[in-house]
């Protein structure tokens, strides 16, 4: 049995290791240069966390064909088509596919969000791990989700001065999530760990950035709790509003996607026979859930009966996953920050005022070019979905931009 695993974050690593340990012939593909995905991103300057190292060693202990820096372009009649500048066309012929394509950040437009030194929260994290110098810089971390604390902790560790952590979710909705942390103590310990590193900066709940200001780069943000506004001078704003599942490859393979998530059954099987999906692409649940799902998909793909105990273990996370989404649900005020002149589509420079009267996503795209640029709506699509309720851009061939010669010699 030959299994292709697409994505080498926690879900993909668990799937690849489990499948290989149980006798499958495994291909592991990721567009990044190293295993780990977004959450376990590491490099020469930033070693991977211990849990990541465990899984990477398990991968290395098996004979797994790995392809890093390889982009999957989509599917044609011969199967998955993948390409990298180093390797040219990569043949991904296989019997079964496990998708572990992860998630990306949700950006919401507010005045000033396109100023230099305004980053996504995850984007800032990646830059820090790549060695961006921040010592002595004043940082505001804002937006929503558990990632904010982790990012703020990394800034603090690198010697930056975290002047504010603004979580839009209110303390009441977060407190409803507290029982989950008691049920999953490892998560609680992780949170406390961030907290001690961040001391004395405490997160403010029910608070968000309504404007970033500065002529050339961001100099100051205006924070608000909906009742009053106050300025926070800063050198960097890291602002992300949670995560959006990457479902494009699943869509290209014909898998059903509902409410922005790939639909899967208890075995992580999608609506397409032989195609499984694990981790954040099936709903935002974090690394523990992704690891379990990776194991389940590998065992299920190989028809191994002891998958049942893993499925039961996964069920214990069910309320954690659904309560996580509820606790960090976006308040309507953060969807109303954009002004008419605020850019929504950065690739094509399309502003909120131009978009707000468009009837639907397709009209917006064709009449204003929103989502037509190099990111193909990966950034503005989810934002428009939140702001206007439009459906997401349908993925087009190729799923990521490639040089034309990539399509010249694929046979």
């Amino acid at each position: 049995m030959r299994i292709a695993v697409i994505g080498a974050g926690p879900g993909g690593l668990a799937a690849a290791a489990t499948a290989a340990e149980n006798g499958a012939d495994v291909l592991l593909v990721d567009e990044n240069p190293r295993a780990g995905g977004q959450i376990w991103r590491h490099g020469p300057m930033a070693p991977p966390p211990k849990l990541a190292m465990e899984w990477i060693r398990r991968i290395q202990a098996q004979r797994i064909e790995t392809h890093f820096g390889v982009t999957v372009l989509g599917r044609d009649s011969n199967g998955l088509v993948a390409y990298s500048e180093q390797e040219g066309h990569v043949c991904l012929q296989c019997d079964k596919i496990i998708l572990a394509t992860g998630a990306r950040e949700l950006f919401l437009p507010f005045p000033g969000w396109t100023l230099p030194n305004v980053f996504g929260a995850g984007g800032a994290q990646a830059l820090l791990k790549a060695g961006m110098p921040v010592e002595g810089k004043r940082i505001v971390v804002a937006g929503s989700g558990p990632l904010l604390l982790a990012v703020a902790a990394t800034f603090a560790k690198k010697g930056a001065h975290v002047v504010g952590i603004l979580e839009q979710a209110g303390i009441h909705s977060l407190l409803q999530f507290a029982p989950e942390l008691i049920r999953h103590p490892a998560k609680l310990i992780q949170g406390v760990g961030f907290g001690t590193r961040l001391f004395p900066t405490r997160p403010r709940f029910g608070t968000w950035v309504c404007r970033a200001m500065g002529n050339d780069i961001v100099r100051e943000v205006i924070a608000t709790d909906g009742k009053r506004e106050w300025p926070l001078p800063c050198d960097i704003l890291a602002c992300g509003f949670g995560l959006v599942p990457n479902v494009e490859l699943a869509q290209a393979l014909g898998c059903d996607v509902e409410k922005g998530k790939v639909s899967v059954d208890e075995h992580q099987a999608t609506s397409q026979s032989g195609v499984y999906c694990v981790g954040e692409s099936t709903g935002i649940g974090g690394e523990d859930v992704a690891l379990l799902e990776g194991e389940i998909a590998a065992l299920a793909a190989l028809d191994i009966p002891n998958v049942t105990s893993k499925i039961h273990e996964r069920w214990r996370w069910e309320s954690f996953v659904s309560n996580l989404g509820r606790a960090f649900a976006l308040r309507k005020e953060v969807l109303q920050l954009a002004e008419d002149t605020t850019t929504v589509c950065r690739c094509e420079d399309v502003s909120f005022g131009v978009l707000k009267n468009q009837p639907d996503q397709r009209s917006a795209k064709l009449y204003t070019r929103c989502g037509m640029g190099p990111c193909q709506g990966r950034v503005c699509g989810p934002a428009c979905h939140e702001l206007f309720g439009w459906e997401l851009n349908k993925p087009r061939w190729p799923l990521s931009p490639v040089t034309l010669d990539a399509l010249l010699d694929s046979q």
Binding site: P359, D405, L407, S410
Partner: protein, 373 residues
């Protein structure tokens, strides 16, 4: 359920329907336009938007030369988002045989008073350094243009009663009915739904002819003209087989549109990777530097094709007051303006700008339709 009255009901808010609506509205008629989707988002949105003079037949030359001149007059009025660019066309000859064809083309275009010039290999390279060395020459038609057809469609429909997302369920003797049961009564009904026209009148011999287009990232100055290989005409002329031809267009923002392919696959909009590769390989042969450019997106669209490569324009026999404006294959953006003037003349009873006979819709009932080439 409501009932609406107008002089002309136009079914189809693509560029052909929009151009007809504009011409009739300007003549003072009350026009209503219906479409199942938003204006200009069907085949119109899948097109390149090349305003081109083409000489596959005398009739095609008549219609495209007239329409091209009409676009030139319109250029100053169009809104900026129509992205009008007087790029001109280069018909590129690979060898001596094609160069002979260039000379013949030059004489024919000159007879029709279409300004053009012959370039030798060196002259061609001076205009377009990214074309490969060794090409024999080209015919340059400086008056041809490039537009963004979707926004041209919206521009043409300004001030007109357009009802998007109103699919028509059926035609009847007084007009049409939409799927919600609303009734539209009109003296004249114009069917302008491209390949979809056959869904309302099954006898219409219009078939979807699929094409692929690629768009690149922004490379301002990579090429300046719409560049087409001379073999394009042959590719467009054949009716049955799959074919590709080199065709590249510079967009005003620096992006490049790359075509072209033709195939009959029914309504399957999927990417045909083999054909796409042939198409890109063909382009690469003419412009080797394309290899390093970033490709953003590929899509397909359906040209409404007729057997004799001419659109169907005018009264439909058998039903009083029903007119057809469809079947424009790959030339709908260009010929929308000529189509509108012919159709408006027929509906208004005025003198047409040129003979409508070769385009009359009733010709498809002739026993020898589609047999003489």
């Amino acid at each position: 359920m409501a009932s609406y009255d107008c002089d002309v009901l136009i079914i189809g808010a693509g560029i052909v329907g929009a151009a007809c609506a504009r011409a009739l509205h300007q003549a003072g008629l009350r026009v209503i336009v219906l479409d199942a989707a938003q204006p200009g988002t069907g085949t119109t949105a899948a097109c390149m938007g090349h305003i081109v003079t083409m000489d596959d037949s005398k009739s095609q030359m008549q219609l495209t030369a007239y329409s091209r001149a009409a676009w030139e007059r319109l250029a100053a009025e169009l809104s900026p988002d129509c992205e009008d660019l007087a790029a001109g066309t280069l018909w590129v000859a690979e060898d001596d045989e094609e160069m002979d064809a260039v000379e013949k083309k030059f004489r024919y275009y000159s007879e029709w008073n279409v300004p053009c010039e012959i370039l030798d290999g060196e002259g061609l390279r001076r205009f377009e350094p990214n074309l490969r060395a060794g090409l024999r020459g080209a015919l340059r038609v400086p008056g041809d243009r490039v537009v963004y057809a979707t926004n041209c469609t919206r521009w043409m429909l300004q001030g007109i009663d357009v009802r998007p997302v109103t699919p028509v369920a059926a035609l009847d003797e007084h007009g049409a009915r939409d799927i919600s049961g609303n009734v539209y009564r009109a003296k004249s009904v114009v069917l302008a739904c491209g390949s979809d026209s056959a869904k309302l009148i099954p006898e219409l011999p219009i078939e979807p002819r699929k094409g692929h287009l690629c768009i690149t990232d922004r490379y301002p100055g990579f090429c300046h003209h719409q560049i087409v290989e001379l073999g394009y005409l042959k590719s467009a002329h054949q009716f049955t087989s799959e074919s590709v031809a080199f065709n590249i267009q510079p967009r005003p923002n620096g992006q490049l549109l790359l075509g072209s392919s033709r195939e009959f696959t029914g309504w399957d909009a999927g990417i045909n990777n083999d054909l796409l590769q042939k198409m890109i390989a063909r382009a690469h042969m003419y412009m080797p530097a394309l290899a390093n450019l970033l490709l953003l997106r590929v899509w397909t669209g359906f040209r409404p094709a007729t057997r004799d490569k001419l659109p169907l324009i005018g009264a439909w026999p058998g039903r009083q007051g029903l007119y057809i404006a469809a079947g424009h294959e790959g030339l709908g953006i260009t010929t929308s303006l000529g189509t509108a003037d012919l159709l408006a003349a027929e509906i208004l009873g005025t003198t047409p700008p040129f003979s409508p006979t070769p385009f009359r819709a009733s010709r498809i009932l002739d026993p020898d339709y589609g047999h003489h080439e």
